[in-house]
Amino acid sequence: MSTLRLALAATLLTACGAPSLRPELDAVNPPIARRGLPPLPAAPDPAASALLAEPLTPEAAARVALLRHGALAAEVAELAALRPDRQVAWPDPHLEAGLSKALSGDEAPDVEIAVEYPIGRAALLQMRRSAARQAQAAARWRVADAALATAQRARVALLHSQAAEARLAVQIEGLKGVQAAYAVALELRRVGNTTALALARERAAVAEARLAVAQAEAQALSAREAVHRALGLAGAATTWRAAPLAGVPAAEPGTDDREGQAVRHSLALQALDAQAQAEADRAGAAEAGGWLDDLAVGVRTERREGTWELGAMVGLALPLFDGGRGEGAQAEARGAGLRLRAEAAAVDVRSAFRDARDRLLSARRQALHLRDAVIPAREAVLAESLRACNAMQISVFQLLAAQRDLTAARGADVDARLAMGLAQATLHHLLMGGAPMEGAALPAAPQAPAAAADDGGHG
């Protein structure tokens, strides 16, 4: 049933909506395409299904979101309302007719017919359409920016989902470790070799580990739902699989100054510029409108006392008090505000770029350190612990503690790779011209894995 509804909706969109959105799509898509992203489709794109059939990467998630996110399509549809010819139309002529007759006497009624046309407003039409075109351009930049934001939200959501699944695997591994310790304690207790206290400690550890797994499961489910929202997925489209969280890139990201590129590419800044230009045009139109808005010419004919008369008229408002100055001042004030916002936004872009670059460098180094130093060291500890356990120099509980230390290091590795992925995605987003986004910040810094507990009182 839902498939049928979807097909119907697609048909309707294709038949009715899509042709009317073509100018908007043609205007919005070039900047998106120039950034390596798929153009927004006129209708849900089957390519999204192909992407969803493969293990989903952050970049694939971004593409899926652009191809099928409903909210983004709505923003495109709303652009149609801003077409200049719908904002500013040619003024209509004004027709006036009157008929009057004296209440006494037999004189024929007087007739009055006048036609006038507001030539002032017609003369201002191009100025006002120019302002409307700038406003429309600003809206298009904002929609393109919204597309980048949609893509970035998709990347971030998928990264969190990948990390949540990896954390869940780590927690399950941790649970297996404490379950193993509990199995040993249970058996030792069965044959009278350990105390109720030692067994209780192991049981408590298992109970806590189960809780941690349950929390990790909940986080993984929640993160998955966040992906559905970010990508606009529902129904059968929610059966996707996430690709594993990416490893550490081989090359360190360049530390050269690319803030300028981020600023030049910023769609939000271009939107603000266009909006400011629109306000400037509005101010100009308002100033001219002080004289011209009420300028009208017309012809008038009237029959008075049986005689037809023909005359012409010109109407003009004297801009003594208003004169459009208030409206113009408002537009200028908005324009000034927009220019100040643009300056502030540029500062934000530069700062966000530096922040993302620094976070990426730091997170990459942490991830490298975990991959090349901490985890191998913990693996060596576990290997040597096994040897020592074989030699009966340490207990099986100490061996399992070494295993938990390794698991904790792998958990820290997940956090570090998530931080790295988020920073990398943010940097990419900013360089493409996306605006700094709240909520895409790093999670808490990965904690150095604490050394596991001792042998729990068995030895």
Partner: protein
């Protein structure tokens, strides 16, 4: 790999390794019991043999026996696969046995190649006070790089020792000890045909480490005769009927050692204080060798065979025994191993049937360690190590025999069911619950 596979592999690989080690050390190819060397001018007394050790050579200068001890770091092998950085004298650990005769005048040069000052105390030797070797009390310590001279007459025979009396804890713990034997000019009592010197010692050497812990006060995990742990100990090979003298010294940090000899009874004939009067001697099979003392026992080796001799403190015959694990005896590995192996592949529960099988397993151990390893014997693995050696009593003509060849019917074996029945022994006998 299941437990059975693991054990099988262990039996193959471990057996091969251990056999190779034993052959390498000459254990299974024990030297024939050549007649002991007789010391000239001592009434026919035989020279002391120090298994795994040596005797300090003398130069005679103007009638004075001149010897030279060099205290120095040494790379030492306790047994194959277990090496350590220790301190010793003249490139060996422990130091060479000093052997002289009552009435000799000895001049002993001591060169210090250690990183800290040292001295030598001639433990039990009667000598002038300034030669006693206590740093600060009797002399200034020998600085690194310097050579001091000790000279004194040997006025009293006996079994003595030597060791530093400067930073004693560190220097002795790292192996700087040796035996000092002074034969009587005119021996009394029955003449011995074999005379052995055995210094007992204890160390703490973590499996995988290469330097003993000189600060250890407990948990010693490596116990040695002449700084060797079985199977690295050289056996004591004697002829049947020999009168054998065993001279034990103990410069361990903390522990006395009850040395037990199988198959024979002996008498304590002397301590480092002097001879035990004949009337005060009584038969024993175990002699307690206290810390800082020597004990001399004598016996007639009249029982042929390969006899164990070892410290009877059971932990002292378990090389690098671990003590931190839980008690696993009685546990069922099937309830444990699958769970642990799920997170630590390669884990295998051990000790659930006792510790005896430990030595046969060929699992990976820490490098440079021999924890509780067994060595091959003629009937299977010998699971003792540490302060353990063999007394090989041989008849003439059988000297080259590696392991003792038992006469027929003299080795314990599986009981004959007919014999069991005839003797009224039921292996399945039940006992009331206590």
């Amino acid at each position: 790999m299941n437990r059975r596979d693991f054990m099988h592999l262990g039996a193959l690989a471990g057996g091969t390794l251990v056999a190779g080690r034993a052959l390498g050390e000459g254990l299974a190819d024990a030297p024939p019991p050549d007649p002991a060397r007789v010391l000239p001018g001592t009434g026919g007394q035989v020279a002391v043999h120090t298994p795994n050790g040596s005797t300090l050579p003398w130069r005679i200068v103007d009638g004075v026996k001149v010897g030279h001890l060099v205290a120095m770091p040494v790379q030492h092998t306790f047994t194959a696969g277990l090496e350590a950085e220790v301190w010793g004298y003249n490139g060996q650990c422990h130091g060479p046995t000093i052997e002289a005769v009552e009435g000799d005048r000895v001049r002993l040069y001591v060169t210090n190649r250690l990183p800290e000052p040292t001295t030598v105390h001639w433990h039990g030797v009667i000598l002038p006070n300034g030669m006693d070797g206590v740093a600060g009390l009797n002399q200034r310590a020998i600085p690194p790089g310097e050579t001091f001279c000790y000279e004194f007459p040997l006025v009293k025979p006996g079994t003595f020792m030597y060791h530093p009396h400067a930073d004693e804890m560190t220097q002795m713990a790292l192996g700087l000890v040796g035996m000092f034997i002074i034969h009587p000019r005119r021996p009394t009592g029955p003449r011995v045909q074999r005379d052995f010197a055995l210094m007992t010692h204890e160390w703490k050497l973590q499996p995988g480490a290469r330097r003993p812990d000189p600060g250890a006060m407990s948990d010693f995990n490596l116990l040695t005769f002449n700084a060797r742990a079985y199977p690295g100990t050289e056996p004591l090979v004697v002829r049947r009927g020999d009168r054998v003298r065993l001279r034990f010294g103990n410069l361990s940090a903390m522990d006395h050692h009850p040395i037990h000899l199988h198959g024979h009874a002996f008498e304590l004939t002397a301590t480092d204080g002097g001879d035990v009067p004949r009337g005060a001697r009584y038969p024993e099979t175990t002699v307690l060798v206290p810390v800082g003392a020597t004990r001399v026992v004598e016996f007639i080796a009249d029982m042929p065979g390969d006899w164990a001799m070892h410290c009877h403190m059971t932990h002292h015959v378990m090389t690098q025994m671990g003590h931190d694990g839980p008690v696993l005896i009685g546990a069922d590995p099937a309830r444990i191993d699958p769970r642990v192996q799920a997170v630590v592949p390669g884990y295998m529960t051990m000790g659930h049937d006792g510790m005896g099988a430990m030595g046969e397993m060929a699992m990976p151990f820490p490098e440079n360690s021999q924890p509780m390893r067994a060595s091959p014997g003629p009937f299977g693995p010998i699971d003792m190590g540490g302060m353990f050696t063999l007394l090989k009593v041989r008849d003439a003509g059988t000297e080259g025999d590696a392991w003792y060849r038992h006469p027929n019917g003299t080795v314990a074996e599986r009981a004959d069911p007919a014999r069991l029945e005839a003797d009224g022994v039921d292996p399945d006998v039940a006992f009331p619950k206590a």
